[in-house]
């Protein structure tokens, strides 16, 4: 589904990703962990098409097509979804307001019929249950005055509405208390299927108690330096990141 080869990216001339290799197949959950500043959020941003980042080399194939040539909207339409670490506030635009346009642009790209107001509302009511979100929240200005939990639930709600093939959750656990974390993780698990895949980016192992990964990768200095099963996450939780840094710095030295 997703094949990243030797991906290199920089921002304002500073290299951040220094050759990422990763393959994600349908049905899989991959966790990407790493210390602060290792390039986790950059990887998410580059995959979603953030224009401030320059891709300096490598390739990303998504369902057989080159992802890097597509605009952010075409990436979304072809099935990439990014749940933001810091969801943006947009005064005067409600979730309901923009999501109808979004859902219909995505549907039309995928060759599906657009939803009318009635069916859109029906679809919304169905998906709202997944993250236990209230309709009144969806009518308010996006993320303005939302609690941390409300913001992240809203992200997963949008994911449910847009039905992506590949969801990238960028530190979705940051700033969430344990109850909110459970609701959000539960939502992600409900949406999981054999056809779609998830990349979970996190600093801590806790989220992975709820969203159980098939693979765990450690990102350090812009490269995936270690991969393993979910037990790697446990080890990182116990030992921290220093041993990874030591190993890596030892090898390069």
């Amino acid at each position: 589904m997703l094949k990243i080869e030797n991906l290199k990216a920089s921002v304002d001339g500073t290299p951040i990703l220094n050759g990422i290799n990763l393959e994600v197949r349908p049905g899989e959950v991959h966790a990407i962990m790493g210390p602060n500043g290792s390039g986790k959020s950059t990887l998410a941003a580059v995959l979603a098409g953030r224009e401030e980042y320059d891709v300096d080399g490598g390739s990303v194939l998504f369902q057989g097509n080159s992802l890097l040539d597509l605009s952010p909207e075409d990436r979304a339409r072809s099935g990439i979804f990014l749940a933001f670490q810091y969801p943006v506030e947009i005064p005067g635009v409600s979730t309901t307001n923009f999501l109808k346009a979004a859902v219909n642009q995505v549907r039309s790209y995928r060759g599906l019929e657009e939803l009318d107001a009635v069916n859109f509302l029906k679809e919304m009511k169905e998906k709202m249950k997944i993250v236990d979100i209230d309709q009144s929240l969806l009518r308010r200005s996006l993320n303005e005055g939302f609690s941390g939990g409300e913001k992240k639930r809203n992200e997963i709600f949008q994911m449910a509405m847009l039905e992506p093939k590949l969801a990238i959750l960028d530190e979705t656990d940051s700033g969430l208390d344990i109850d909110a974390l459970r609701i959000v993780a539960n939502g992600v698990n409900i949406l999981k299927s054999e056809e779609n895949a998830t990349i979970v980016i996190t600093h801590y192992q806790r989220l992975l108690d709820y969203i159980v990964p098939d693979f765990v990768h450690v990102l350090y200095k812009g490269r995936l330096v270690k991969s393993g099963g979910k037990e790697l996450a446990m080890e990182l939780e116990e030992r921290g990141y220093d041993w990874i840094k030591d190993e890596e710095n030892h090898i390069t030295a």
């Binding site: 909207e73 307001n97 923009f98």
Partner: protein, 432 residues
């Protein structure tokens, strides 16, 4: 007489002489002497050039010189001038002027219980109906006083609650040539009365027009006035409007001023809070066209204690458009316990677009709460990226964000019909 606009002053001098010629011996009346001295002042001072601080970014005099140096008289217009398509479904009283001439066919419902509407179709009537007052410092206000030959006077009786809006529609029909229009209106809202007055400026035809309109409004104590001004000018229209409001104690004035076009549009909005416990909400939206210029100068003068004023003006400028905002707030020594919150926000869509913004606060009292500020920026890249990651194309995402930005002002229009209409006009403008 200043050098650079001497030709246009000759044209205006001729206009004034033409008016006097029609007055059959009433040129010595007291009212006419006020007008005469107003015109003398215009001649002495000249039209304001860009050296004048108040017109630094708004070359109205220069544009007039260019477009109206050869002007003599308004063309005859076809009888079948119709109300432009932008104005369906507005309800209430319609007072319609076409090229400054009251149009009886297009006007309707001039009688409402509690309202007395008097139309003046000549300068004599205008003087009889509304005793002329001294013009404000603005030269164009003096010019209006001197040249106005039509207008209306609207009196809302004490205690009357007028449910139906009163609409004053200014139509410039330039299909047969250049048009110059000067009209003057007076509104007196009685004590404890409530009303809604909407002024619409609209034009048809491709020739240049110059509209100089003025409105004097008195809001009686405990009265509530909703005042809306909608400018739908064409690319060849020059327009200046001087609106002066006087608020008496415990009165509320809500004024929303939206402008979507014009070659050059200048609004002077002066609000004097003469009484205590007044509330003033003044909001504005300006979206000039590609080469257009919209200039809003507002003055809120707190003269007495315990009043609140809130101002929000927002602008969107693209291409080579220019926006000007100058918002003055005075809090006089007697105006203790004043709350005044004023803000101006702008979005520039292109490097070639311009905004000149100057909020000014002058406070002589010592127990007041006042804030003022302005922001100018491009479209928020984070917001744009967020919407695009949801599958919305860039152009639609931009429109969505601009609409949200502008709607904050349009939402202040309390009348559902007018608000929906203005919102639809906004959509048309964002889609062009």
């Amino acid at each position: 007489m200043s050098e650079q606009n001497s030709t246009i002053l000759n044209v205006l001098q001729q206009q004034f002489a033409d008016l006097e010629a029609k007055m059959n011996g009433t040129t010595n009346s007291e009212a006419h002497l006020v007008r005469k001295s107003a015109f003398e002042a215009v001649k002495t001072n000249g039209l304001p050039s860009r050296k004048n601080e108040e017109y630094r970014y708004t070359p109205l005099a220069k544009q007039l010189e260019q477009e109206f140096a050869d002007f003599t008289v308004n063309p005859e217009i076809d009888a079948e001038t119709t109300c432009p398509k932008q104005l369906p479904d507005l309800s209430g009283s319609f007072i319609v002027f076409v090229n400054g001439v009251f149009n009886n066919e297009l006007s309707h419902k001039l009688k409402q219980i509690g309202v007395k509407i008097t139309i003046s179709t000549s300068q004599q009537e205008l003087m009889k109906n509304s005793p002329v007052s001294e013009p404000s410092a603005d030269v164009f206000s003096g010019l209006n006083l001197a040249l106005a030959s039509s207008g209306s006077k609207i009196i809302i009786e004490k205690g009357a609650v007028i449910e139906n809006p009163i609409n004053i529609i200014h139509i410039s029909n330039t299909e047969k040539g250049k048009v110059m229009t000067t009209s003057r209106h007076e509104v007196i809202l009685g004590e404890n009365a409530q009303a809604m007055i909407t002024e619409v400026f609209v034009s048809t035809g491709g020739n240049a027009s110059f509209t100089n309109s003025a409105m004097e409004v008195s809001v009686g104590s405990h009265g509530i006035l909703n005042h809306y001004k909608v400018g739908l000018d064409n690319d060849s229209d020059l327009r200046i409007d001087n609106s002066c409001f006087t608020q008496h104690s415990n009165s509320v004035l809500n004024t929303v001023n939206v402008n979507f076009g014009g070659k050059l549009v200048r609004n002077n909005l002066n609000i004097a809070l003469e009484g205590e416990y007044c509330e003033t909400n003044l909001d504005g939206l300006y979206i000039p066209t590609a080469e257009g210029n919209i200039d809003n100068h507002t003055v809120v003068d707190h003269k007495m204690p315990n009043s609140n004023s809130n101002e929000l003006y927002k602008g969107i400028m693209g291409d080579h458009a220019t926006g000007v905002f100058n918002g003055k707030v005075f809090v006089r020594a007697d105006a203790q316990k004043t709350n005044a919150f004023h803000s101006n926000k702008n979005i520039l869509l292109a490097d070639t677009a311009t905004i000149n913004t100057k909020p000014q606060l002058e406070i002589w009292a010592d127990d007041v709460k006042c804030t003022h500020g302005c922001t100018t920026g491009q479209m928020d890249k984070e917001q744009l990226f967020y919407l695009r990651t949801r599958g919305i194309d860039k152009e639609s995402a931009q429109k969505l964000l601009l609409k949200a930005f502008a709607e904050e002002v349009i939402e202040k229009i309390k009348d559902d019909t007018l608000r929906a209409r203005v919102s639809a006009i906004l959509d048309d403008n964002l889609n062009r």
